[in-house]
Symmetry: C2
């Protein structure tokens, strides 16, 4: 589907009432899971253990949760991530919130399933710097993990597939929903302020944010070059070498966006206000800019309304209890 049809949707959406919009912006009841990895309590519990276990890294000190910190919106609050040896990485740590609803993973979309994605940071030498053999041997050496895998995936053992499945399964439970916006969309007119309502009208109308941030998870699952000043990262182009993909990055969800500053793939904006200003300018670097970006000429009040709308997408925060980890022998 090209940008034209999103624009049509946006213009159409702007004329609907909030109640009608629940059709477009309602998150499905759960993140879709593959047939061989349907969620169970045992699988989620195992995946959570793995997610919080620093022993899966080469240093034994970095866990998935070190960077995808539940207390910081499942990201890290930094412009760009931190990896092994605490060296800065090139891109902002994406929140894993609602990643179960994505069809492609990572900023450049190079990974097609969460099961596969889970291994990426564990094995990347710049990130957790583990090796698959070491990780599997380590897990098999701990009776607590042997038992947990057997309960979660009976007869499958501890292997590349079951480790990826367990972590992916846990990630699919990390969902942001039940935001003030959702309550409004479901008919509670008092759930949000007039500013939020004006912001939503701008979002789906004049500002046309919905061209990319659309659907229940507020993303088109696509890749766009937003004209960020001085960006030298090829982004999606490294995966799909066509001109339109140069400097293009995945549209992130806007759910819980108020919790995940700084913003953009390189963390170059500290606040949502700065992000709105960027779009209001129609981006900075015009070369290969997504054709949908044009100067918006928003008023200060309109900018504030857009920010208020984005803040209304902060969902009910999950209560995360730290897992007990199996003992090393």
């Amino acid at each position: 589907m090209g940008l034209g049809s999103y624009t049509t949707l946006a213009q159409d959406t702007a004329t609907k009432t909030a109640a009608a919009n629940q059709v477009s912006f309602r998150l499905p009841p759960e993140a879709p899971a593959p047939d061989d990895n349907k969620p169970t309590a045992d699988r989620t519990a195992l995946g959570k253990m793995l997610f919080f276990d620093p022993r899966l890294s080469g240093s034994k000190w970095i866990s998935c949760a070190s960077c995808h910190n539940p207390s910081l919106g499942w990201s890290d609050g930094l412009p760009t991530g931190v990896g092994d040896g605490m060296r800065a990485l090139g891109r902002k740590t994406p929140s894993i919130v609602n990643s179960g609803f994505n069809s492609l993973h990572m900023w450049d979309g190079k990974v097609k399933s969460l099961e596969e994605q889970a291994w990426g940071p564990m094995l990347a030498s710049a990130e957790m710097h583990g090796t698959q053999d070491q990780i599997l041997v380590k897990l098999k050496s701990m009776p607590g993990y042997v038992t947990a895998f057997e309960k979660a995936y009976p007869g499958e053992g501890i292997n590349k597939e079951t480790v990826g499945k367990a972590i992916a399964g846990f990630e699919r439970t990390v969902v942001s929903r039940d935001s003030p916006f959702d309550h409004w969309a479901e008919g509670d007119e008092s759930a949000v302020t007039p500013s939020v309502k004006r912001g939503f009208a701008l979002f789906t109308g004049k500002a046309n944010c919905v061209a990319c941030h659309q659907g229940g998870n507020f993303t088109d699952q696509g890749f766009h070059n937003l004209g960020l000043k001085g960006n030298a990262d090829p982004g999606r182009f490294a995966i799909v070498p066509v001109r339109v993909a140069l400097g293009a990055f995945k549209t992130p969800t806007l759910r819980d966006v108020a919790l995940t500053a700084p913003y953009m793939h390189n963390g170059s904006y500290l606040t949502l206000e700065e992000v709105v200003d960027h779009y209001d300018r129609g981006g900075d670097d015009k070369e290969n800019l997504d054709p949908n970006l044009k100067p918006l000429k928003l008023t200060d009040q309109e900018k504030r309304d857009l920010v208020e709308f984005m803040k209304s997408l902060t969902g009910t925060q999950m209560t995360i209890t730290l897992p007990k980890l199996p003992q090393s022998l």
Copy 2:
């Protein structure tokens, strides 16, 4: 009190029944807190936020909980700690479990209150590498923290004292108790195995572990040179330059000891079995060795019994829910 009297206690203890021993080995109902920092729910909640907030470090990536990981016995499972830039530190990360019962803090006892201790790792350039000014400015910039401090310490503001108090207050809630050993000491003969009971008799008798690991928290709060092979760390001597303090380190609690491998101030033993073997040999490096250490000539069964006894000191594990952290502006 010198070692002589501990020996007397130990010999005396060995003849008592388990029920009688509850007097000596019962943990007080709560860790003692200074008059100006008595625990309240608001104080504990604030201290927990600070404990889990990586933004208190210079890198904004390391929190107290990065090394004092609740999922790993409030330590990190590593032989020696990891600090800023992921450089290895010189000593094992001590568990903070039951640190509220200690009168001196750090392996060398250089700090006299938990309130003061809380700042140590935050400001150490090799550890969290923060500065007090940066930390206080950062906390004051976040409305969520301003409110939380006002609730916890009304009228006191955000300053060196209240930050230390809040973290110390949270640490005092990190307590290990209600272990199988405690249940046995309280009269439940079925709470532990015969091996544990034999181990306790050895602990307080032939092996004389109780010379140092005594009282409700299984520590004499003293410093001892255990004759670890090749140890070049002066330990307590750097604080109190007397010969007996050379290479001496604080006696750690044994509560939850099964959860905090590796062992000793330098993490040189991977298992409790190796620790027991060390004491059975009477230590390795005899220079300046604590006079209480002598070869024990334990049988294999006796060694197993001592390990089983130590495992019986694993308390009921606290359920730790991750705090929501205030947003940066």
